[in-house]
């Protein structure tokens, strides 16, 4: 061994094709070769998956080894000499290729993988032009794996990447190697769809055309597509994606590698939502209401109508008579210009927190909601407490990181209103109704010493009566013991009637346990919306505004005379669907700026402005880490639809507002960056005082309604393949067995759900995952669109 000081014990020198490399002891040859840029052919090896070494394509010659060795499963040793291109290595690789091709059909011309196929590529280098195999090839029957993944299992070469992906990464082994020898096939065995929310990644890992994208199938060839880098438009992770377009139309979405966010994976929501771009109800022309009818008009007519309507409202009712509700999936540029528009007219009525109902202590909130740590760091926590989060469906990528942490021994802990299923071990979970959640979080805080002499009087008073239960003590202890601990609030905490209280308590927990505090913001640009000033109490750059404007709930409860909805569908996107829809009707002048003109929108809109959707506009999203990620427009908006920032620019000019002469969206972004670029997610003052417990006041049944994974925003709600999956089922009402017995509903198949005046009839399912005192009725679904608060009082009776 060399005695040079810089050499570590775990380093070895290995020679590949005559060149020496330093490598970590025990590292596989293929990793060392990949890092060095030496190409070794492979099918089953995947850097993110456990080694299977079953395709044998990566055979290489190793000095003194009696036969070629698989590079993916052979650890390097000091002084090892590897030959990847020696006659012996090449002969072995060619022999393997011949075997792999024996049963592989020669159907490349009709195979979707053609042109981007690992087998096709490698057979060019290692295959022979004529097959010696004259016998019958085997044929494998296809089974339906659901609406997302198309199968052609005859093409399968048994690399088992898909099996390993589902087992190890997606955490739910749904495919297996069924049968033996020549009869072995990759299958579910029982006919059923793959249910994982990350299932589409099996398409990417499949080296051949056995697993392909069902919606994309037979629609384009790989070489006809143009690739545009983009950022995923749904959850707040900001996963890197690539849009593949042909003729200005998005044909498919695939992941881009970004080790610090999504590694090489994306969720099915990010992969398949593009289908929503081509929904039948896309708005293609501006429309203005004339009498009972909406008539298509020219842009200038429509924009004049909007400007007139807004001006009239301001003249008649003052600046408070206008209000804007904007989707947290809007771009930073759209949010910022909307903010400038509203404030330019003297109002502060703008909000993006559509599913939120408790806005107390918003003044103390940080400049933007943030994870409190890098996404990457989630996989290195020792303990994490998630409050009100179905993280697996809200942010699949964050869940994947937490899964890695949990499998490495981290304690992942939950306080949830429903007993969600996770794909990782959960160390401790408390499932309770909303009031019980508050008590549980308070119990954990108390167990950690909150409410002591140093705390605020209100907190001392509130925590005085709290006696931590054993589970709460266990959670407190796990957090205290974790060297890297984190407390995170999810979407069901943000929608909780006592969100401010949960937050104040969670921050005390984090402070007492030495943990980071963070939130899992709901949407792709929730953080950006705060930064751009799409909140009533702060202007762009988190500059406080006094007095604050009306928040989303206030605007819905008493609608302004002129209401602008930017990519918002009130009946699906708001905390109280029924009230939001009522507000859209009640407002004297309702402007719908968005990509879609649903039936509902056509009823309440006075003007409809078609706005370019995701993928059709340039813009910026700020993810849960506070990372600004820009993207360009990749697809052509349909008909007359125009990018939102352009529409708002013209509107600003029509209204005579100064400084609306932007040349491009980058200029809008730069202006905002100058105001907000240095913002951090620090809290401003005390974590908030502890006051009224709204949820605890409610007696009787409480509705718990989350926005299901494929119902979160207008785009994904129109993604046709995703809507056919099991996860997109329409609303049902679920209650605990004991609750069903107590309410006399044990035998009821359907129930009438009532929330004030709002009511709906839904199928009833008795489900042990629901705590007593609660009814689980998802929001954002057709079945629940007529209902009231998604977390709020509810009553049930047998449907007539």
């Amino acid at each position: 061994m060399s005695a040079k000081p810089e050499i570590h014990d775990d380093q070895v020198t290995v020679e590949i094709d005559g060149v020496a490399y330093r490598a970590r002891k025990g590292e596989m040859i293929i990793r060392v070769a990949d890092a060095a840029g030496v190409v070794i052919p492979r099918f089953c090896y995947h850097p993110k998956l456990p080694v299977a070494a079953n395709c044998r394509m990566c055979l290489v010659e190793v000095e003194r080894a009696p036969k070629p060795l698989p590079a993916c499963a052979t650890p390097v040793t000091d002084g090892m000499k590897v030959f990847t291109r020696s006659p012996r290595a090449i002969a072995a690789q060619k022999a393997v290729m011949e075997f792999l091709l024996i049963n592989h059909p020669l159907d490349c011309p009709i195979c979707d993988q053609g042109g981007e196929c690992e087998l096709q590529d490698l057979s060019l280098g290692f295959g022979s032009s004529v097959s010696r195999f004259a016998e019958k090839k085997r044929v494998v029957a296809d089974h339906d794996l659901g609406p997302l993944i198309a199968t052609d299992m005859t093409r399968c070469i048994h690399c088992t990447r898909c099996i390993r992906f589902l087992e190890v990464i997606a955490g739910q082994k749904e495919l297996g190697g069924i049968g033996r020898g020549e009869h072995m096939r990759i299958d579910t065995y029982v006919e059923r769809a793959i249910g994982s929310e990350m299932s589409g990644n099996v398409i990417d890992v499949c080296p051949v055309g056995a697993l392909t994208s069902k919606p994309f199938r037979f629609t384009a060839r790989a070489w006809e597509l143009r690739e545009y880098a983009a950022v995923a438009p749904h959850d707040s992770m900001g996963s890197h994606i690539a849009l593949h377009t042909r003729g200005g139309r998005v044909m498919r979405v695939v992941p881009r590698e970004e080790e610090s966010i999504n590694e090489v994976w994306i969720s099915d929501r990010d992969r398949y939502s593009y289908q929503g771009l081509y929904a039948a109800d896309r708005l293609t022309a501006p429309m203005v209401r004339r009498g009972d009818r909406l008539e298509p008009v020219e842009w200038d007519v429509a924009l004049e109508a909007v400007a007139d309507g807004l001006r009239r409202a301001v003249t008649e009712g003052g600046p408070d008579a206008i209000g804007v509700l904007v989707s947290p999936t809007a771009t930073l540029e759209e949010l910022y210009l909307l903010n400038r528009l509203v404030r330019g007219l003297g109002s502060s009525n703008i909000d993006h927190r559509l599913r939120q109902t408790d806005f107390r202590n918003q003044e103390q909130a940080p400049a933007f909601p943030s994870l409190g740590l890098p996404i990457e760091a989630l996989e290195r926590v020792d303990a994490a407490l998630l409050v009100g989060s179905n993280v697996r469906h809200e942010q699949p990528i964050a869940a994947h990181r937490l899964r890695k942490a949990a499998l490495a021994g981290a304690k992942v802990l939950f306080v949830n209103p429903l007993d969600f299923e996770f794909h990782f071990p959960v160390a401790e979970r408390i499932v309770a109704d909303p009031a019980g959640m508050v008590r549980a979080v308070a119990g954990i805080a108390k167990a950690l010493g909150a409410g002591g002499a140093g705390d605020t009087p209100a907190a001392r008073d509130f925590l005085k009566e709290i006696r931590p239960a054993p589970a709460e003590r266990a959670i407190a202890q796990a957090l205290r013991e974790g060297e890297r601990a984190s407390v995170l609030l999810g979407a069901l905490a943000a929608a909780h009637p006592d969100y401010s209280l949960l937050r104040a308590l969670a921050m005390r927990i984090a402070a007492a346990a030495g943990a980071t505090f963070g939130e899992l913001p709901e949407a792709a640009n929730s953080a950006g919306a705060w930064i751009a000033g799409a909140v009533p109490h702060r202007d762009a750059g988190a500059v406080p505004v006094l007095p604050a404007g009306r928040d989303a709930r206030a605007m819905i409860e008493s609608p302004p005379q002129a209401l602008v909805l930017f990519n918002v569908e009130p009946e699906f996107d708001c905390h109280d669907a029924a009230a939001a829809r009522r507000a859209a009707h009640a407002s004297a002048f309702t402007v719908v700026m968005g990509s879609y003109g649903s039936e509902a929108a056509r009823e309440y809109a006075d003007v409809l402005l078609p706005v370019a959707a995701f993928a059709e506009t340039s813009g910026t999203f700020v993810n849960a880490e506070g990372r600004w990620q820009g993207f360009r427009g990749a697809a052509t908006p349909p008909g007359e639809a125009r990018p939102g920032w352009k529409v708002l620019r013209v509107l600003g000019n029509l209204l005579g507002l100064p400084g609306f002469d932007y040349a491009d969206s980058a200029q809008v972004c730069d202006e905002l960056r100058a105001k907000a670029g240095g913002l951090t997610a620090e809290w401003r003052g005390e974590p908030g005082d502890i006051d009224i417990v709204e949820s605890a006041r409610v007696t009787g049944l409480f509705r718990i309604g989350e926005a299901p994974i494929y119902r979160t925003d207008p785009l994904v709600r129109r993604a046709s393949a995703l809507q056919k999956t099991e996860l997109a089922r329409d609303a049902v009402c679920r209650i605990a067995p004991k609750e069903a017995a107590r309410l006399g509903l044990a035998d009821a198949a359907r129930v009438e759900v009532m929330q004030g005046e709002a009511h709906a009839v839904l199928p009833l399912v008795v489900d042990e995952r629901v705590p007593e005192g609660c009814a689980w009725i998802p929001a954002a679904t057709p079945g629940s669109a007529a209902l009231g608060p998604s977390i709020g009082p509810v009553s049930l009776r047998v449907a007539p």
Binding site: E167, K173, E174, G177, I178, G179, R180, T188, Y189, V190
Partner: protein, 172 residues
Amino acid sequence: MTQSEQTATGGRAAALTPASRKAIDLWVAKYPREQRQSAVLSALTIAQEQNGGWLTTELMDAVADYLGMPRVSVYEVASFYSMLDTRPVGRHKVSICNNISCMLCGGDEIIRYVERKLGIRLGDTTPDGRITLKVEEECLAACAGAPMMTVDGHYHEHLTPEKVDAILDALE
């Protein structure tokens, strides 16, 4: 209540009879606690016995849920081993070796003879439900007695058509 009964709370584990569970528990006890799935082969054999010689999907699910492993992993095991059947079988299972030693000593002729005699092909069951001829039985490690077959797990060596007649005709 045994350890394994406690963990077998949900799912379809109830499809296993108490006797089967007890037998499986003996096997579970032989492995480290966190490696219950090591008992899968024995558990499937026991479950198969419970059901008269073959495994239903429900029974495989029961084994999976009882041992706390993915169901598809159990299907993988059950479909891999030739002594486990996933389709209905006859009262007797006849496996005739078709590997090299038996083949050289006339195993193929024995297979053809049996197929003709019973009027079924390998993999099929006689219409009266008496005999299942198992498909592609590989080497059963009795090459010295080739050609050979097993009947319900019992070895019969140095087979001739006459000997086969005697063995098969004696089956109820």
